[in-house]
């Protein structure tokens, strides 16, 4: 899996001496942000979306403990998320966490004996096993309808009744912050470092006297624990748990979120979870085929930006530091314009196709970017083809220029850092 992590992060962490403010400032700022957010975005939709984002962040970070930190590709992580929500006492997130931990211990003892593709396959098999069992064992899982809970019966602290959504938001935000700090702290412990070592070279880990299996097992259990907390929070938020929670769809989604964000960086899955949740909520209002765009985004990221969004951002960090970032702006702007033109053409073509197939009964009139037109007329199709053709052709010309500009700026940055 070391291919997934850019070489820059493999360098030993520079031991920086920072004051207390520097060390905790970031977390205090995050806490302040969490408190302030509901006052900035006051609408009900925003509050619900932010609650979902909080859950998704915990879940994606827990997934990254496997994929990013320890190099284990799992296709069944939703098992621990879902079972965390299913436990008979789904009302306290920490209980969900222990449920996730328990199943992590059980399934982890089986699956972490193997690494690589075998581990991925076992996780897939276990995921399918649990998802199918959830439909069979009706008394426990409630079959297809699932189990409903009532969050107002939650253990009360102060005056929180957990009826209104903003109470739930603050609960989720608090847990999200705690889990983020805990998972970040874990990456700094010897265990966290050994996880990275197992990801890079399990053989050498063995040579220096550690058992990679045991390290994988610990990482797996802890990932299950945090996934369970996320599941417990989801059970509180939705007040219902059903078999879809443990299913392959949920497992796939968390993989998508973590990967799009960038598994090589701690912040990656956070970005990915926020983006994916946002797209899920917003895109599903705008278009019927939002999942298609999702899949295309993922495939595009795998092909062109395997380090994810965080990887793209971090690539430019040395430029930012050496103040050579402005050098790339013109080339990037050109690449952006041509890319956007191609993208618009593709979106237009897809939307018109959808309008003529799935939504054929609605008639040919449709709107795209708030322009109304008929999907039967020829002009929009010509525009779409032109945008894709010309935009694509120009992109092929311009993008290498952008890459060249990046390398040039990078070379400059290196010169400035080490004056001859």
């Amino acid at each position: 899996v070391s291919e997934l992590v850019p070489a820059a992060t493999l360098a030993p962490a520079r031991a920086k001496r920072r004051g207390t403010a520097g060390r905790y400032g970031l977390w205090i700022a995050t806490a302040a942000l969490f408190i302030a957010l509901p006052h900035i975005f006051t609408s009900g939709t925003a509050l619900t979306t932010m609650s979902l984002m909080g859950i998704a962040i915990i879940f994606a970070l827990s997934y990254n403990m496997l994929l990013g930190q320890t190099g284990m590709l799992s296709f069944g992580h939703a098992v621990y998320y879902g079972l965390g929500g299913f436990l008979p006492l789904p009302l306290i997130p920490i209980v969900g966490g222990f449920a996730g931990l328990l199943f992590g211990v059980i399934f982890g003892s089986v699956s972490t004996r193997r690494a690589g593709t075998a581990f991925a396959m076992i996780s897939l098999g276990l995921g399918e096993l649990v998802a199918s069992s959830a439909l069979i064992l009706r008394n426990f899982f409630g079959g297809e309808e699932g189990i409903t809970t009532n969050r107002t019966k939650l253990f009360r602290i102060f005056d929180f009744s957990f009826g209104p959504q903003y109470h739930v938001y603050y609960l989720i935000a608090a847990w999200c912050l705690i889990c983020m700090i805990a998972m970040y702290a874990l990456t700094r412990t010897p265990l966290g470092r050994m996880c990275n070592a197992v990801r890079e070279n399990p053989e050498r880990v063995h040579f220096i006297g550690y058992n990679p299996q045991v390290i994988r097992f610990f990482a797996f259990c802890l990932a299950g624990f945090f996934a369970g907390i996320a599941g417990g929070l989801a059970a509180i938020n939705f007040e219902i748990v059903n078999s879809a929670y443990v299913g392959a769809g949920q497992s796939g989604l968390v993989l998508l979120a973590a990967f799009i964000g960038g598994v090589g960086f701690f912040i990656g899955p956070i970005l990915g979870a926020i983006l994916v949740t946002y797209l899920q909520v917003m895109l599903s209002d705008v278009t019927d085929v939002w999942q298609l765009y999702f899949g295309l985004l993922f495939v595009g990221m795998v092909m062109f930006a395997p380090f994810g969004i965080a990887g793209l951002l971090m690539m430019h960090e040395p430029l930012w530091r050496a103040r050579t970032l402005p050098r790339v702006v013109p080339a990037y702007a050109m690449a952006l314009v041509t890319g956007l033109a191609t993208l618009t053409g593709v979106l237009l073509a897809i939307e018109m196709t959808v309008h003529l197939t799935v939504k054929a009964s609605d008639g040919p009139m449709m709107s795209f970017l708030r322009i109304k037109f008929s999907a039967h007329s020829v002009l929009p199709w010509i525009i779409a083809v032109l945008l894709i053709g010309v935009g694509g052709w120009l992109s092929r010309r311009v993008w290498p220029l952008a890459a060249a500009a990046f390398h040039e700026a990078m070379a400059r940055a290196r010169e400035r850092r080490q004056p001859a």
Binding site: E3, R114, G116, M121, I122, L129, L255, V299
Partner: protein
């Protein structure tokens, strides 16, 4: 009971042969490129939908030829312009690429043909019952499926063992560099194998479409089972895939036919049925458990015999 055994055996072998049509391509692709192709079942689904679309216009028999070729072309293009570019990022990226591709194909199929099943029917020429075993009419179309699948299996075997192309493919499986040195275009061989593997899955789709339900979730339903087959048989082993396909096919069909639960067994033996928290476990019948048996098998195999039944290499 005898009737049940005969019919279930026939159905099991049929399902097994269908699985093998797909598993053979999947395992060939894996042993050549080291890629577990998540999108393989998606090519099966594409085969079914292309078959439906072509048979609407030209009838079933042309569809049986045209649709797999179309699927094969799509597969070759995916290899040439997608997978080959991802290759430099390593195996995990390749796995993730096919994972995303499966997602995209499902969405595209949903976009074009909708979520509801399409009306893909058995061709009239085969819409009669072939023979009657103990009052059960066995449809001719199923016999056709069985014979067709076996025919393709034989052809595949002959091509792989008796022709020059087959020999090059076999050589490229184990010694890709040496084959390259001898002047063969290994990337093109890869593309060919990927295309032919996809086309085989497409064939399975075209002939399975009318017998099963042709709808947008058929890939998601079958994909995991396919993985079970190739892993249980041993990754990269064609004969292992064959054995595992038949095994899974038979186990699945027989399990569905057996409607007995633990509770029935205990009652028959005059033991009281426990009424504890997990009462479900005792009441679940074998038929209900059928969907999870393959996964149980997969997990057990991966733990106790990681090379699979007939495989030689460790996953």
């Amino acid at each position: 009971v005898l009737e049940l055994v005969v019919v279930s055996t026939l159905n099991g072998v049929l399902f097994g042969m269908l699985l093998f049509l797909m598993a053979s391509g999947l395992t060939l692709i894996f042993s050549m490129m080291g890629v577990l192709n998540f999108a393989h079942a998606s090519f099966y689904m594409l085969g079914a939908f292309f078959g439906f679309q072509v048979s609407q216009r030209f009838g079933f028999w042309p569809a049986l030829i045209i649709a797999p070729i179309l699927v094969g072309v799509v597969g070759a293009l995916v290899e040439r312009y997608g997978l080959r570019n991802v290759h430099r990022h390593g195996h995990v990226a390749e796995l993730l690429f096919t994972f995303g591709l499966a997602f995209v194909i499902e969405e595209v199929v949903q976009m074009i043909w909708g979520k509801a099943p399409v009306d893909y029917r058995v061709p009239p020429a085969l819409d009669f019952s072939a023979f009657t075993i103990f009052s059960t009419n066995y449809p001719a179309y199923k016999m056709f499926m069985l014979l067709f699948a076996i025919g393709i299996f034989v052809v595949l075997l002959l091509v792989l063992t008796r022709t020059r192309v087959g020999l090059i493919i076999q050589a490229a499986l184990t010694h890709p560099n040496m084959v390259g040195m001898l002047g063969h275009n290994v990337p093109r061989v890869f593309m060919l194998v990927f295309g032919v593997g996809s086309a085989l899955a497409g064939v399975a789709g075209v002939i399975a479409g009318p017998a099963l339900v042709t709808q947008a979730n058929m890939a998601a339903l079958l994909g995991p089972i396919l993985f079970v087959v190739v892993v249980v048989g041993g990754l990269g082993s064609l004969s292992g895939a064959f054995v595992a396909s038949l095994l899974i096919g038979l186990v699945q069909t027989f399990a569905v036919a057996v409607n007995v639960s633990f509770a029935d067994l205990l009652t028959a033996l005059n033991i009281p049925v426990p009424t504890t928290f997990f009462t479900d476990i005792w009441r679940v019948t074998v038929a209900q458990v059928a969907p999870i048996i393959p996964y149980l098998l997969l997990v057990l195999i991966l733990i106790f015999r990681p090379t699979g039944l007939l495989g030689t290499r460790d996953t």
